[in-house]
Amino acid sequence: MSLLKYIFKRLLAAIPVIFGVMTLTFILSRFMPGDPVLAYLPEGKIDWDLYEQLKRNMGLYDPLHIQYFRYLGDIFVGNWGVSQSIARGMPVWTLIMLKLPRTADIALFSIIIAAAVGIKTGIISASHRNKGRDTVLRGITLVGVALPVFFLGMLLQYTLGYLIRIDGVAIFPSTGFKTIIYTDPPAVTGFRIIDALISGQFYMVTDYLYHLVLPVFCLSFISLASIVRQTRSSMLEVLEQDYIRTARAKGCKEKDVINTHAKKNAMIPTVTIIGLGFGSLLTGAVLTETTFGLAGMGQLLIDAISNSDYWVLNGLVFFFALVFISINLITDVLYGILDPRIRY
């Protein structure tokens, strides 16, 4: 019961943060470069009467607090504005939902691989402390934390995508989502791999996965490095505790000591790192999508800034913040599940 109360309290605490985020995006959007009315007009000579009328209709002449409350109401209803320059006339929500599955593909694969491999590797690194495996892993993860995502991406693009070739064809494709001449399967869920599976075109599934290898490897390597480091250090702290010594004195096998007693206690800071890593995953997604030429939400953000499409920018920044807040909420809840002391 107190777990539910804890979740409820966390949800309540998130609400003023969401309001604050909306206020911040509103303030930022009013200072954006580019005139939204000007982008809405047709090309050619500017008709200033039409400009005035459009500006009045869009509500840009109203006092600021009225604009703010209208903005809040619009966000709640789901009317996040209409894109001006990127896809003229398309509602922002539709645009974001269109690009979301492409980023979600990379992000979900990366976080799952990074979490699974990272926790296991961290435990191995801690159990064989200062021996060969540990030293090598520490070196690799240290480089991984300091490595810029785009540098790793470009390195992989150059070596695996160009230098090393078998019969003139590179091992991994360096850009793009799919081979250009193939067509997408009919969109059922929006996630292209699932769509391809549903429609039975298995060659498309392999094609998508093949193109996803390099971006997912880049992103997960960076997250993996910090997860391994954190797991290792929290595991080392736990292994020094008295109850581990008791378990060993009682005759527990080493692997049982680690899996049954130590692992759950060491997970707590790691879960925080995984939650924070999701935020860096979003930023990494922006950089990775630019490097590998994938058309996801990161690319949409860059395009929105370059084309001064500030409705899209507004909606996108707010969306990123919402995702991040929900991930932090889930992390807090996981924290409460793993460590019962937190809930009481």
Partner: protein, 342 residues
């Protein structure tokens, strides 16, 4: 023991205050301290009581403990290397600053005798631009971090000390800023600031943006420690002695909670360099300046033809961030209170 110390105290006659007398005093002081620092079991014969108590409470040797790990020495060397590149570029670079910004012939040429690492966009030398790029990274990182540390620590200490609604409001505002992924908010900030001042993104706005975005992190970091330190009895003693709020906050609590900040600063310098590289790679920083990220962005289109233009800047970013992270790791191990008795 006490009698031994008192009897061993020598009251030297004051030498005549000539230049050579003072110089000799300084040299002698340096020599005895060096001997104490480097020779592990040496003792000083003329310790006064005050110095004895000082040594008993706080070992100076922890600075040397840092040198135990090879990785930390590598980190210090890397940081020195980057700092030397940043401070002395005009002496170290093969070409001048004007040549690094000029339009020359032979764009994207391969590494040769004249251009050790090849040529980039307008025939400029890659090595020269790398060396000048170090200066840009440190110039953006250090003031930004100084700004966020100063203001973040002030905000955090004030919030944690007063508690109540001040704490709640400040924490909510900090939560709002921490609800965004940092690069995205920095991107938007730089664009907004560039637009608000009428020009495009400039290096000052990037420094300001990273400075403002670092404040929530340091506030939250120091707030936990201040909340713990607030309950200790010496604070009550200071209040009874008549200290006002400001004095207690900044003279009593602050020196004791500053330790995680120092470690965090070294990690954060690496973080800001990395994020600045990301920002320039996307093209949203000042494109007039010589920056490693700008180099990578320019050279990206010619990656297959001229990989040296983009891959060497990336390697240098890696080395710079790695150096600061190793230094931070070493500092953290050295300042760990659990190792104090070793």
């Amino acid at each position: 023991m006490q009698e031994e110390i008192v009897s061993k105290t020598k009251f030297e006659e004051e030498p005549e205050s000539s230049v050579w007398g003072n110089f000799y005093k300084v040299v002698k002081w340096t020599a005895t301290n060096l001997k104490f620092l480097f020779v592990p079991a040496s003792r000083l014969d003329d310790l006064t009581i005050r110095e004895f108590n000082y040594e008993r409470n706080r070992s100076k040797r922890k600075f040397i403990r840092r040198f135990k790990s090879v990785l930390t020495i590598v980190g210090i060397l890397l940081v020195f290397f980057i700092a030397t590149l940043a401070v002395f570029p005009h002496w170290l670079a093969p070409y001048t600053f004007a040549d690094a910004n000029a339009v020359l012939t032979g764009s994207w040429g391969p590494p040769s005798d004249l251009n050790l690492l090849g040529k980039t966009k307008f025939g400029r030398d890659v090595l020269t631009r790398l060396i000048f790029g170090a200066r840009t990274s440190l110039t953006v990182a250090l003031p930004a971090i100084a700004f966020s540390v100063v203001f973040g620590v002030m905000v955090g200490v004030i919030a944690a000390y007063y508690g109540g609604w001040v704490d709640a409001v400040i924490m909510r505002i900090i939560d709002i800023f921490l609800a965004f992924p940092s690069l995205i908010l920095a991107l938007v900030f730089v664009v907004v600031l560039g637009n608000a001042f009428g020009t495009g993104p400039k290096i000052d706005y990037i420094m300001l943006a990273w400075g403002i975005l670092g404040i929530p992190y340091y506030s939250r970091l120091i707030r936990g420690n201040v909340l713990q330190a607030k309950e200790l009895p010496y604070i009550q003693a200071a209040r009874v002695a008549g200290a006002g709020n400001g004095r207690i906050m900044f003279k009593h609590i602050l020196p004791n909670v500053i330790q995680p900040i120092i470690i965090s600063v070294t990690f954060d310098i690496g973080g800001v360099i990395l994020s600045l590289a990301g920002l320039s790679f996307l093209g949203f920083s000042d494109t007039r300046m010589i920056d490693w990220g700008n180099e990578i962005a320019e050279g990206r289109q010619y990656l297959y033809i001229a990989p040296w233009a983009s891959l060497w800047p990336g390697l240098l970013i890696l080395l710079a961030v790695l150096g600061f992270m190793l230094l931070g790791d070493g500092l953290r191990d050295a300042l760990d209170p659990r190792l104090k008795n070793l």
